[in-house]
């Protein structure tokens, strides 16, 4: 969401136009060790071209704004003065005006949107390649459909998924993507509305144990919610020994023994630690088809380029991407998925 200040910087042209002459990455965090060299070979060669593209996108946006906005205002005024009096219902004049505004906003913001998409598509893979055999795709459609059998996916009508990352970390296969799921509803006046039912990430990991059934760990839904789930679920509830874990989660499985084989006391402790590390109880997971699928609500939009108003050197982008990747690695480390000890 753009702030008013950014908006005025854009339309007034008061943004930084002086790109860094010879940007260099300074390693600050331990996980950035060695990235300075990678930056100089894989990222810095693109800086000059993207700085030119950034200034071009901003100039285009400014031009489009000063051409389109007055035009829209004049046309709207003409519609109100000459067309509205001829209408049976005067409110109908709003439809073409609102439509025009929507098209204008899309048209004006297009250069910046395209620039950011280019950064994600062409620069982010170069940054992520520092971490090993990882692939990155800024867009990914229909990813949630395959996860429906896990039971983690809420009922939805609209999916917007992005930032798909696949690869291996310490021998653990990782498949990550961000998604927003919306459900279509109708308000009291019959108008269609889309309500967000999930905004976060799905991460799928290879799991060191072989299993056949499905075990799902859901957040506790309270006495009534749990009773309804117990009554109507096809799976059986698994009552585990850890009272703290039972307060946070409810476990359902089609195999009581397998559920306990997967959810050892040690693993339950790690799941609790994961909840503590990532805040809140908006974390659910499912053991399905020899993988551990984790669903987490995340407020922050991960893997996004930095401000377009700053000179482009991709240093902040690199730091952000590496930090975001650490979130994924932290899940593996917390759950000790790389330690194939059987616990």
């Amino acid at each position: 969401m753009w702030h008013i200040g950014k908006f005025f910087r854009l339309v007034s042209g008061r943004y930084d136009r002086t790109g860094a002459a010879d940007p260099a990455f300074v390693e600050a965090a331990p996980y950035e060790a060695g990235f300075a060299l990678h930056y100089s070979t894989a990222v810095r060669p693109h800086v000059a071209a993207y700085e030119t593209a950034r200034l071009h996108a901003l100039a285009q946006t400014k031009t489009r704004f000063w051409v389109c906005v007055p035009a829209v205002l004049v046309i709207s005024l003409l519609l109100v003065v000459f067309w509205m009096p001829t209408l049976n219902d005067e409110v109908d004049v709003l439809f073409p005006i609102v439509g025009m505004i929507a098209v204008t906003i899309f048209y004006i913001s297009r250069p910046v949107g395209k620039y950011k998409s280019d950064v994600k598509a062409k620069i982010f893979p170069g940054i992520i390649s520092f971490l090993g055999d990882f692939s990155y795709s800024p867009t990914c459609k229909g990813r949630v459909t395959n996860l429906r059998p896990t039971g983690l996916v809420p009922s939805y009508d609209q999916e917007h998924s992005e930032d798909e990352i696949r690869g291996q970390y310490k021998g653990v296969e990782v498949d990550f993507f961000e998604t927003t799921l919306k459900r279509r509803t109708r308000d009291s006046k019959g108008r269609t509305r889309y309500t967000t039912v999930f905004d976060g990430v799905f991460i799928s990991f290879s799991f060191g144990k072989h299993f056949n059934g499905k075990t799902i760990v859901q957040k506790d839904k309270g006495a009534v919610g749990n009773w309804l789930k117990d009554t109507f679920s096809k799976q059986e509830r698994v009552a585990l020994e850890d009272p703290h874990f039972e307060r946070i989660f409810e476990v359902y499985s089609d195999d009581q023994i397998e559920a306990r084989y997967l959810l050892t006391p040690a693993f339950m402790e790690r799941l609790k630690a994961l909840v503590d590390n990532f805040g809140g109880s908006n974390l659910e997971c499912c053991f399905f088809e020899n993988r551990l699928v984790i669903k987490m609500s995340v407020r922050e939009n991960l893997f996004e380029p930095g401000s377009i108003f700053e000179p482009e050197d991709f240093i902040d982008d690199s730091r952000r991407v590496l930090a975001d990747m650490q979130h994924i690695f932290a899940v593996i480390e917390t759950l000790k998925l790389d330690e194939n000890t059987g616990l």
């Binding site: 144990k209 020994e241 023994i257 559920a259 306990r260 050892t264």
Partner: protein
């Protein structure tokens, strides 16, 4: 009159509900017990292979190998799942075999040739996997037994359990070897 009939009806309904819960918990505990047996059978099937590999190298552990064989035979003997004492004896035998196998696996460490043998490494890996399943089955069984025993040890469950012929089942406790302190010097 009507009130009395309603009260009696409600009481009978509650008693029936309790009775049904006892039977369903007894059946669940027996299901859990059979789950343990499935895993114990896997371990039992694995034992001869491990003994066969081990006997080639572990000449000084004849006594331990013989003990494992005897305990396996004892554990494979049938038992009455409805009789708590018989179940306890069966689980004790399983625990004793588990303890002896644990000692055997530790003893393997003293035989470098055996320890590095591919077949032994694979057998140990499979054994560890089976033990993890036995542990999971034990947790399920103990959770089921807790529910059953609680329902028949609180009045009127004591009476209803007696009428239904349901008796308390024993817990499957960790074998003695698993809870004994380990002296690291023995293996260093």
């Amino acid at each position: 009159m009507l009130t009395s009939i309603i009260i009696i009806g409600v009481v009978l309904g509650l008693l029936y509900g309790w009775y049904a819960a006892i039977i369903s918990r007894r059946n669940r505990a027996l299901e859990a017990l059979s789950g343990i047996d499935v895993q114990l059978q896997k371990r039992s099937d694995l034992v001869p292979n491990i003994l066969k590999i081990a006997s080639k190298f572990m000449e000084h552990e004849k006594e331990l190998l013989t003990q494992v064989t005897e305990l396996r035979t004892r554990m494979d003997a049938g038992y009455n799942a409805a009789d708590g004492a018989s179940v306890k004896e069966h689980l004790n035998a399983a625990g004793a075999l588990g303890g002896a196998m644990g000692k055997l696996m530790v003893a393997v460490e003293a035989y470098p040739d055996l320890k590095s043998s591919d077949t032994m490494v694979q057998a140990q890996r499979t054994y560890n996997e089976v033990e993890a399943h036995i542990s999971a089955a034990r947790r399920f069984y103990n959770a089921s037994v807790t529910q059953l025993n609680t329902s028949i040890q609180i009045f009127p469950g004591t009476v209803l359990g007696g009428l239904a012929g349901v008796t308390a089942l024993p817990f499957y406790e960790a074998e003695e070897g698993a809870t004994a302190p380990v002296n690291a010097d023995d293996y260093l």
